[in-house]
């Protein structure tokens, strides 16, 4: 069974913007699916329609075979979905615990029954100590985790995350990835929208690329990244050491803290970092020189 089945989905906003153009998409139950696209590509509109926050213009959407055009089915479908929106949309004057328990109430779960799940989620996401604090006192990362806890309070079968790591620091991002992998491993279908290809490579099995409201590619992630012939990474180091012992790679020293290295499909970044570490160099940051998603777009469009 598919968690999400979308057929000929079109959305035209009142101002005439055509956000989605006859989109067909299927997300299998249990999958970890990525919807990749630049800002304004239609990702948020698409998940807005799936979560009933946006009215579609035409097309059909089924969630676990529930037809969203049917009011009774829509209520059943909503029970299966947890949504982590891109922007913070809780009442900042409410306490962390109240935000989560209130959401449980909206799903028909009594507070006393929801409390153990709320406790587990808050502890798991490192918010338990803040449970009696108002949401406005939380840091950005904590707010992001609160959104995840709120989305999971009713134990949804399908978790939709709209750019969950936007503006989140590296350490927190990795912690979130780990937790999402665990959820998926335990059976939750996950649909993730992002414009970070690295995030997709780390977590997802299947990915669709959306551009200007159209799905331009839908494939397994491992097939998708093969389109990238070579990539240049920028490595920031704490202190520059001689690089002459590094073999098979051809790194370029840009300045006293920056190295650039070009990797072909056969070479892995991990091998390079291991060799670099062997020279006593401490790596503080690694990022692709070019926006990999844009590069992938261009590669796919050329084909």
């Amino acid at each position: 069974m598919n968690a999400i089945t979308i057929r000929n989905l079109t959305k035209i906003y009142a101002n005439g913007t055509k956000a989605l153009k006859n989109v067909d998409l299927a997300v299998a139950e249990g999958d970890f699916f990525a919807l990749l696209g630049a800002n304004g590509a239609g990702k948020t509109t698409l998940i807005g329609i799936v979560t009933s926050l946006v009215n579609k213009t035409s097309g059909k959407v089924h969630v676990f075979n529930y037809d969203l055009d049917n009011e009774e089915d829509k209520i059943k479908a909503k029970k299966t979905i947890g949504i982590v929106p891109q922007e913070f949309n809780f009442n900042i004057f409410e306490k962390v615990q109240d935000i989560i328990l209130t959401q449980a109430g909206y799903f028909g779960i009594e507070w006393k029954k929801a409390f153990p799940q709320a406790e587990m989620l808050l502890k798991k996401l490192g918010l338990w100590e803040k449970r009696n604090s108002t949401a406005r006192t939380l840091s950005g990362g904590m707010k992001r985790r609160l959104l995840i806890a709120r989305a999971l309070i009713h134990q949804p079968q399908l978790l939709i995350l709209d750019e969950p790591t936007a503006g989140v620091d590296v350490e927190l991002r990795h912690g979130m990835w780990e937790y999402l992998r665990e959820l998926n491993h335990n059976g939750t279908t996950i649909l993730l929208t992002t414009h970070y290809l690295e995030e997709v490579e780390q977590m997802c099995r299947q990915a669709a690329i959306i551009k200007n409201g159209e799905i331009i590619h839908n494939d397994k992630v491992k097939h998708l990244v093969q389109f990238l012939e070579e990539e240049i990474y920028v490595v920031t180091v704490k202190e520059m050491r001689p690089l002459d012992k590094i073999k098979h790679f051809n790194p370029t020293i840009i300045d006293d803290k920056t190295i650039e290295v070009e990797l072909s499909k056969k070479e892995t970044l991990n091998d390079f970092i291991m060799q670099l570490s062997a020279t006593g160099t401490i790596v503080t940051d690694i990022h692709p020189k070019e926006h990999r998603l844009e590069k992938l777009f261009l590669t796919l469009l050329k084909q």
Binding site: Y13, A14, T45, G48, T51, S52, L53, V54, N55, I75, K76, K78, K79, I81, I83, P85, E87, N89, F90, N91, I92, F93, T102, Q103, G105, Y106, F107, G108, I109, E110, R150
Partner: protein, 257 residues
């Protein structure tokens, strides 16, 4: 959602609403108590002492039901419009929209919040009135019926306003330019029988006249209008506003793109 789940969702909304207006009681409960006290002092005590009795009761006693009802109307309306628009503005209304809570439960929850605030403020204002006069209660059931039905109608009105409101100016514009004049001209401070025939006829087009007079009937057993008509008007308003609100919720007007 089964009935039990719907009840839990309903009580969750009500609890959230009550917690909200109780948490900011200085902004929600106190202003009406102060304003109505000033009305009692100025209109009742200072000016009212120079006005003759109306249908056998003092002017101060005459204005008590109207002032209580004015507080109930304003607070029921304001509670729902500000809370629901606030949820739209902060986008936490999305918490409800993505949940399986049916639209009628959402509406019922917000309306109950408005009704409860209206009743709480109404009781406070009535308690204040006891310091100035000794209002009698002729028909307790009528008082309860009118206060609840009026609060329901005004809460539904507040919800409708919140659905269409796009900014904070839209929240107050209807209240300032339509509601307040209608309340003041609805017989809070005078009996319509004291007006010239032409203005009596005009006043009868004001639906708030029926609500205020129905409530006054509960206290003193007399009214400028037929009580049954008052009840039917209130019921009609509530039904029409409920249907319109539910239709708009289903369409997602003002809530969904």
């Amino acid at each position: 959602m089964n009935t039990k789940e719907q009840m839990i969702a309903y009580l969750t909304i009500v609890r959230k609403e009550v917690t909200r207006f109780m948490r900011i009681w200085v902004q929600t409960l106190l202003p009406s108590a102060i304003t109505q006290t000033l009305y009692f002092v100025i209109f009742g005590k200072f000016i009212g002492s120079q006005i003759r009795d109306i249908q056998g009761i003092s002017y101060m006693s005459f204005i008590v039901p109207g002032l209580v009802m004015m507080a109930v109307m304003n607070n029921a309306y304001t509670n729902v419009v500000s809370s629901f628009f606030g949820s739209k503005f902060q986008r936490n209304v999305e918490e409800l929209l993505v949940s399986p809570t049916p639209n009628w439960v959402i509406l019922a929850g917000y309306v109950t919040g408005g009704v409860l605030r209206g009743i709480v403020v109404g009781v406070i204002v009535f308690a204040v009135s006891v310091f100035f006069t000794h209002p009698v209660i002729a028909h307790g059931g009528v008082i309860i019926l009118f206060v609840i039905m009026t609060a329901v109608a005004f809460s539904l009105g507040g919800f409708l306003n919140a659905i269409f409101a796009k900014n904070f100016d839209d929240v107050s514009i209807f209240q300032t330019f339509l509601l307040t004049p209608l309340i003041y001209l609805g017989g809070v401070f005078y009996s319509v029988h004291s007006l010239p025939i032409f203005w009596q006829k005009i006043s009868q087009l004001n639906p708030l006249l029926y609500m205020i007079n129905g409530f006054r009937f509960g206290f003193y057993g007399f009214s400028d209008v037929n009580i049954l008509i008052s009840l039917l008007i209130l019921l009609g308003f509530s039904i029409v506003l409920s249907v319109v609100n539910l239709h708009l919720l289903r369409k997602g007007t003002g809530l969904k793109n």
